[in-house]
């Protein structure tokens, strides 16, 4: 029984210290026993030494936790930073792959459902992977760290000093850009870009057919629509850059507001130019909607064009007013 106990302790220890600790334990246990001992005495002695796993952990001084207080704060900060980004990237990948390889002749509804299904699956997979690898990395760092200083470290992997505060910008609540705005901003870019490049399969008149909802007449002439692609790509790049910049700044400033306003203006100009282009709407689509509202196709075209132009201009004015209002909020410096 004594040998078993010693084995249970030493097998949890590094090879080189096993023999020494084993011998010492052995002599200690015999020291604890009376002259003529029986099994009860042995049990009592072993009981006072306690669980071999705990004794071994006290010997080895290796942490009995995955990530200790020294790294925990940095670990959670890393997770919060990387997890959402990797999830969104996976979503973007799924959408991009789906848009580039559409299901042949598939109904739109099916494609969208497929994107949602695969999107959720991929996001889950990526989230689990990201979580796992970050955790493993930190667990290894925790074990590799031989330094005696166990005080928690900050994001730059050094103990905290007041100078670290210089790296932090004061973020008043009223001006703060929330993290979800950043995440939804990216998702929104993906959605409208997908709609643009995919318009002939997404926007138009739908009819209920045998295979569910099907697009019978697309609203736009895709060739004309796509002839603007360089401008649209520029807008996409601009929006992504702006979103990332927002994420780094984390609050509304005049410069950010001006950039945002500039972007809104550019979008509106491109949008108006595209929408007012003649022959943009397909005749078939105009006819069908005309029938629906009991009017001629030219009237429908005119009202649709100018309706959309008005909406986009009104929206832009409101949006620009809104960002300047946020940037203008005065906050007392503390």
């Amino acid at each position: 029984m004594i040998n078993l106990y010693i084995q249970e302790v030493t097998r949890r220890l590094p090879e080189k210290s096993r023999e020494d600790i084993g011998l010492e334990l052995e002599s200690t246990i015999y020291d604890m026993l009376p002259e003529d001992y029986d099994e009860e005495d042995v049990k009592e002695a072993l009981q006072s030494l306690g669980n071999p796993a705990i004794l071994a952990s006290k010997y080895s001084e290796k942490p009995m936790h995955l990530i200790g207080p020294k790294y925990f704060d940095v670990y959670t900060s890393f997770l919060k930073l990387i997890l959402p980004i990797s999830i969104i990237l996976s979503l973007i990948t799924v959408v991009a792959v789906k848009v580039l390889n559409p299901v042949e002749g598939g109904a739109v509804l099916e494609t969208i459902l497929e994107i949602i299904g695969e999107g959720i699956w991929h996001m889950l997979t990526v989230a689990i992977h990201t979580f796992f690898w970050i955790t493993v990395t930190f667990a290894i760092v925790e074990r590799a760290d031989k330094e005696n200083n166990r005080s928690p470290i900050s994001m730059n992997f050094k103990p905290w000093t007041p100078d670290d505060l210089k790296m932090v910008t004061y973020l008043p609540k009223e001006k703060r850009i929330k993290n979800y705005e950043f995440h939804f901003g990216l998702i929104w870019t993906v959605i409208w870009a997908a709609i643009y490049f995919y318009a002939d399969r997404l926007i138009g008149v739908y009819e209920n057919g045998d295979n569910g909802l099907r697009l019978v007449s697309p609203a736009f002439d895709q060739d004309i629509l796509l002839s603007f692609w360089p401008w649209v790509v520029l807008l996409i790049i601009g929006e992504v850059a702006l979103t990332v910049y927002k994420y780094m700044k984390k609050q509304w400033t005049y410069r950010l507001a001006s950039l945002q306003a500039l972007y809104e203006l550019a979008t509106t100009v491109v949008f108006v130019v595209i929408i007012t282009r003649s022959n943009l709407f397909t005749t078939e689509f105009l006819q069908k909607t005309g029938e629906l509202f009991d009017t001629t196709s030219s009237k429908i075209e005119a009202s649709m064009t100018w309706g959309l132009v008005t909406i986009s201009i009104v929206y832009t004015v409101i949006a620009i007013y809104d960002v300047y209002k946020k940037a203008n909020i005065k906050v007392k410096d503390r």
Binding site: D20, I21, L23, E24, L25, S27, T28, Y30, D31, M32, S48, L49, G50, N51, I54, L55, K58, Y59, E61
Partner: protein, 112 residues
Amino acid sequence: MDPLIRSLLTELRRGNLTLAVLSQLRTPQYGYSLVQLLEELGVTIEQNTLYPLLRRLEKQKLVTSSWDTTDTRPRKYYELSEYGVEVFHQLKAEWITSTKKLYDVLNEGEEE
């Protein structure tokens, strides 16, 4: 005993134990003799804390160890090293002053 009180007490004792162990190692001791010695002096220490602590002190070069095989059973003896003696005296002085201060602080609270 209330588990919270017990864990707080363990925390309080932890540093003191090192000091108590160091104080008894001015003469060579082996594991079990040290347990008995401390127990006689009224210091209870869990055995599964003491033995790893001895090795840690050895690693920190505060104590030296040697195997004595002349007896019926080989025993590992620990003794304070020169550096250990130095550290022990410093710790002892620190402990005495801080305990005095703490004593005053606690007494002050009593009087009110």
